[in-house]
């Protein structure tokens, strides 16, 4: 698991400066609920998640929803104390870990608490991440009934030998069944894919994308595999048991995926995310509102161990292990262990870094002079769309999406 960022200590009562909520009425508020449990840990994963044996005897998955609900109430009280004007939730996202490792009723209970504490906006997007192996039709019925309207499947690949390297345990054949169950319950469906796994051929990848398209989902995320320090996969690569990840291969697969998705009617709206018109909703409506809230630097409260939160320039993160997390929550204390208040330069950096990734791009006038100067060169290099730039928006070209971090550095004049 990655080290947590270095920041300032967070106050025990979680109190926020009034500046963090002063513009609350102009900003959307989302809720992220982290479920830090997995049946087994996948070899590539460095997320904050724990198997039964890593939890220890004093933490129970069965009680987790109570603690999560308690933090939801705690969040509301902290925002109130800071003087924030109340806002209904723009989106809620249950991520993990494996949220569906908890009984659907428990997830529903946390959502119910969110509704009671904050209220949900009329068109609020409520997503649950699901492992195809840990769901039944009944799961989706309960979730739908509770108000969940979107499910995101961690499919990753359709090819058994690739799943094996990733150590994903699900059975590929279960994916279409799970998707059908979600559809039957009236849920909108997204599928997550990973490309560039060691040993994955371009043909393998094509097969995965085509299989995902056969599921007729409304939304697809495709992430390049990142080898994180401390993972089993990183160790296997270091020992030479598994070949290294090749960035050129990943670039080729990204281009292939983009072409296949486009053919199937998908539009990119963020570097790693595509949506299409379906189920009576437009492509724009099928974008993930929760994801976009991150890229647009909106506000969100992260519930659960290790979760990150952001309120208008103040970021904080919770303690990572479920046991101390639970203890803090039960004592009525903030589970946050670190926080940072972003200065203007850092906020600007994040504005550029995040905004460049989305289809609407950055408004030219939001850039500092050195950024505006850099745009011409980026157009020449073919990474920024020329006509759009003339029209006042810095938008990545297809080629530029693969170089988003390089574009960011040049816009920042680094």
């Amino acid at each position: 698991m990655p080290a947590q960022p270095e920041g300032d200590p967070a106050p025990a009562d979680g109190s926020l400066p009034s500046s963090a909520v002063a513009r609350a009425n102009q900003r959307t508020l989302s809720l992220y609920v982290h479920v830090p449990f997995c049946a087994v840990r996948c070899g590539y994963c460095d997320f904050n998640t724990y198997t039964m044996s890593q939890l220890g005897p004093d933490v129970s998955r069965d009680d987790y929803h109570h603690d999560a609900a308690a933090e939801v109430r705690f969040g509301r009280s902290v925002l109130d104390a800071a003087g924030a004007s109340p806002r209904p939730l723009h989106s809620v996202f249950f991520g993990g870990g494996t949220p569906t490792l908890l009984p659907a009723e428990n997830l529903a209970a946390v959502l119910q608490q969110a509704r009671e504490s904050f209220g949900l906006a009329p068109d609020a997007e409520i997503t649950v991440e699901a492992n195809p192996d840990s769901v039944t039709d009944r799961t989706f019925e309960i979730l739908a009934q509770a108000g969940v309207n979107r499910v995101s499947f961690g499919m990753q690949s359709a090819v058994p030998h690739v799943l094996k390297v990733l150590e994903r345990t699900h059975t590929p054949a279960n994916v279409p069944l799970a998707v059908a169950g979600a559809r039957k319950a009236g849920l909108s469906v997204s599928v997550d894919l990973i490309y560039g796994t060691p040993g994955e051929s371009v043909r393998d990848w094509r097969r995965s994308v085509e299989t995902a398209l056969d599921l007729e989902s409304d939304h697809i995320s495709a992430y390049s595999l990142i080898i994180e320090d401390g993972t089993k996969l990183a160790a296997q690569i270091r020992r030479g048991e598994v070949p290294e990840v090749d960035p050129d291969d990943q670039a080729e697969k990204y281009i292939l995926a983009d072409a296949l998705l486009r053919e199937a009617g998908f539009d990119w709206y963020e570097v790693s995310n595509w949506s299409r018109a379906a189920q009576g909703r437009s492509a724009a409506q099928n974008r993930s509102a929760h994801n976009i809230a991150y890229w647009r630097n909106q506000d969100w409260w992260g519930i659960g161990p290790g979760a990150h939160s952001h309120m208008d320039g103040v970021r904080w993160w919770n303690i990572k292990h479920p046991l101390p997390y639970t203890n803090k929550i039960r004592e009525g204390l903030s589970p946050a262990v670190g926080r940072e208040s972003l200065n203007q330069d850092t906020q600007y950096l994040e504005h550029v870094m995040l905004g460049i990734r989305i289809r609407e791009g950055l408004e030219t006038r939001s850039l500092r002079p050195e950024g505006r100067t850099a745009v011409a060169g980026l157009i020449l290099d073919g990474w920024v769309d020329g006509p759009a730039a003339v029209g006042g928006h810095v938008i990545l070209t297809d080629q530029g999406r693969l170089m988003a971090d390089a574009v960011t550095r040049r816009l920042l004049d680094w």
Binding site: P2, P5, G7, Y32, H34, F47, G95, A222, Y223, S224, I226, P247, D248, Q250, A251, E252, Y254, V271, S272, Y294, W295, N297, W300, G302, A307, H308, S309, H310, R315, W317, E340, T346, L349, E350, M353, L354, D381, R401, L402, M403, A404, D405, A406, T408, R409, L412, W414
Partner: protein
């Protein structure tokens, strides 16, 4: 019981007949300093309590490398058969780069100990210095050291030494600097065998400078051997090469700390301090005389130090340039052989072109700059001085590849050396092959003993300054030893090879090489750089060229993907930190045109270790 002196002779009033001046010739690790320590102890100059290992080597670098850069002279009393003597031990530098300084040390003595490791036998540098000693008509006292070692073969090497200098094997003394065995017998032998110095007491004073050292508190400390007359405190002295006059602030002997005296007279060895701050005003080999009653002729033998190897030194951090400038100024106070001038490189920024006596001198200087002045340095590949005759018959001297003339060239002459390699006979083939590949011309071969051979070659200096010594060592499993000295110059078919990054010439990588080696230099350098320079946002061709002709080419493909796909469940801070880390990384880059070259790439590409490391992998 050891015969300590009862009534040590006082400086300035010592009869030359009780003076014994000697030095020690030895290979780097043959135990000279340890033996010197033992003699200081045996004569009571240093008590065991005061004993600091290798007392005479003062600087850290010297101690670490086990070599003596600067010589000093210690006066030791010793009694033989009831007579008190004064023994002056002059410590000589042991390395080939400092041959001139060695020759001056030898000139200050009447005798030398020829000190040889009883487990290793004589080495090429020792042999070279032995020749020098014989040319100076010194008495040679052969000594085998380290006889306590289990691997010692004293009989074998006594034979070798005896053979070499024409004595009987039983005249070779056997000592151990470590245990002290044989040291007193050695001191006795010095008194008996070393001739006392000859000089004219009433003549105008003449003293030869055999060393000068800069001391932070005292200024330059000059070591002299008086030949004629007497030098006295507070008299004005004159340096005969320049005519410059100085006030003598202090004169004395070292025993083992400086002790002021009433002067130094015929045959005596000691130090003087005049208040000058720069060793170049007190040059090794020069003659000191009285300013009021000067001698007419100098003692002769003085030469200006002549740099043989050149290299550009650049601070890794451009802002350190003033620090480097000040540091070189300070080092020069203590090193008359170090020369430098400012140099600007498009790739490396501001630095200095420095001239050195040899590779070791270069390495020691760079080490000292980095260590004593806390600098991070990049040094360009060592070069030599070429004489270039242009079409119009005008001549120019080129010590820096970037100054290589563009126009038509009639002739290029490069400095040559004559080299002596001593090696066990089983390695003759390997050494011959190496010398051949370095454009060497064989001059001769002699068997020193049944299994040890002396090979003599004439080689271009440029071929031995780079990695010759390392290769020689590795091809002979460490057994070969090398000595070389300058030996004129010779015309050769030389070209300048440039390295271009995306069409931009990188001056730091240009090299002057023999025509036959230009291609391999080009291939090696472009290959190295391809591995050292990270992929960029655009394709970067790396070319090696002679003039406009491309002789080797590599390509760094453009980076195709530079984006992190995920934002880790809202952990924006993490993504930002990754980006900020990339920014830090870029600070360590130097721009060549549009190409970002890591500073480490310059260091690695210019270091010969990298190359030999790679060869090993193949």
């Amino acid at each position: 019981m050891s015969p300590l002196a009862v009534n040590p002779p006082a400086p300035a009033s010592t009869d030359p007949s009780v003076l014994r001046n000697f030095c020690i010739i030895a290979h780097i690790d043959h135990g000279k300093s340890t033996l010197a320590d033992r003699m200081l102890q045996a004569t009571g100059v240093v008590t065991p309590r005061q004993m600091k290992a290798q007392y005479l080597d003062r600087m850290d670098i010297e101690r670490e490398r086990g070599i003596t850069i600067k010589s000093q002279a210690v006066r030791m009393p010793w009694n033989v058969d009831g007579t008190d003597y004064a023994l002056n031990m002059i410590d000589t530098p042991g390395h080939v780069d400092f041959t001139y300084e060695v020759s001056r040390s030898l000139a200050a003595c009447e005798a030398t100990l020829l000190l040889v490791d009883a487990a290793q036998g004589i080495e090429a540098q020792t042999l070279a210095n032995l020749y020098l000693a014989l040319e100076n008509d010194l008495t040679i006292i052969p000594v085998l050291n380290k006889i306590d070692l289990p691997a010692a073969q004293p009989d074998k090497y006594a034979d070798e030494l005896a053979n070499l200098i024409g004595v009987e094997p039983d005249e070779v003394l056997r000592v151990s600097g470590k245990t002290g065995v044989g040291v007193e017998a050695l001191l006795d032998k010095i008194v008996r065998d070393v001739p006392s110095p000859q000089g004219v007491k009433d003549a105008p004073s003449r003293a030869m400078i055999f060393d000068s050292v800069y001391d932070t508190y005292r200024g330059v400390v000059t070591y002299v051997r008086v030949v004629d007359g007497t030098l006295k405190p507070r008299e004005r002295i004159r340096m005969m090469s320049t005519g410059a006059a100085h006030e003598m602030l202090e004169i004395g002997v070292i025993s083992p700390e400086p002790i002021p005296s009433e002067g130094l007279s015929v045959g005596e060895v000691g130090y003087l301090i005049t208040g000058v701050k720069d060793v170049r005003q007190s040059r090794v080999g020069d003659t000191v005389t009285s300013h009021t009653k000067p001698a007419e002729e100098s003692l002769g033998g003085y030469e200006d130090p002549k740099p043989m190897v050149f290299s550009g030194l650049f601070p890794v951090e451009g802002s350190d340039y003033p620090v480097l400038r000040d540091a070189l100024e300070k080092l020069q106070l203590n090193d008359a052989a170090l020369v430098y001038e400012p140099e600007t490189s498009t790739a490396l920024g501001f630095g200095f072109r420095c001239g050195f006596l040899g590779l070791l001198h270069l390495e020691i200087t760079r080490d000292r700059l980095e260590r004593e002045f806390n600098l991070d340095l990049i040094s360009t590949a060592p070069s030599v001085s070429y004489n270039v005759t242009l079409e119009d018959n005008s001549e120019t001297e080129v010590t820096n590849p970037s100054e290589f003339p563009e126009g038509r060239i009639n002739e290029i002459r490069e400095p040559m050396v004559s080299a002596t390699v001593l090696v066990p006979s089983e390695f003759i083939g390997a050494v011959m092959e190496l010398c051949q590949s370095k454009r060497g011309e064989m001059k001769g071969m002699d068997y020193l003993s049944e299994d040890r051979v002396e090979l003599r070659y004439r080689l271009p200096l440029a071929e031995i300054v780079f990695d010759f010594f390392d290769l020689l060592k590795s091809k002979t499993r460490g057994y070969a030893s090398l000595d070389w000295k300058a030996d004129g110059e010779q015309a050769a078919d030389l070209v300048k090879v440039d390295i271009l990054l995306q069409g931009e010439q990188v001056d730091a990588f240009s090299a002057i090489t023999h025509k036959d080696k230009a291609y391999s230099y080009g291939v090696v350098m472009t290959g190295k750089l391809k591995n050292l320079i990270p992929r960029q946002q655009y394709e970067v061709p790396i070319q090696a060229a002679i003039g406009s002709r491309i002789i080797a080419r590599e390509n760094i493909r453009a980076i195709r993907k530079d984006v992190l796909s995920k934002c880790y469940g809202g952990d924006i801070s993490r993504k930002r930190k990754l980006l900020e880390k990339q920014k830090e990384g870029k600070k360590r880059m130097k721009m060549v045109g549009r190409v970002e070259v890591p500073q480490e790439a310059f260091v690695a590409a210019l270091s010969s270790d990298e190359e030999s490391g790679k060869d090993k992998k193949k």
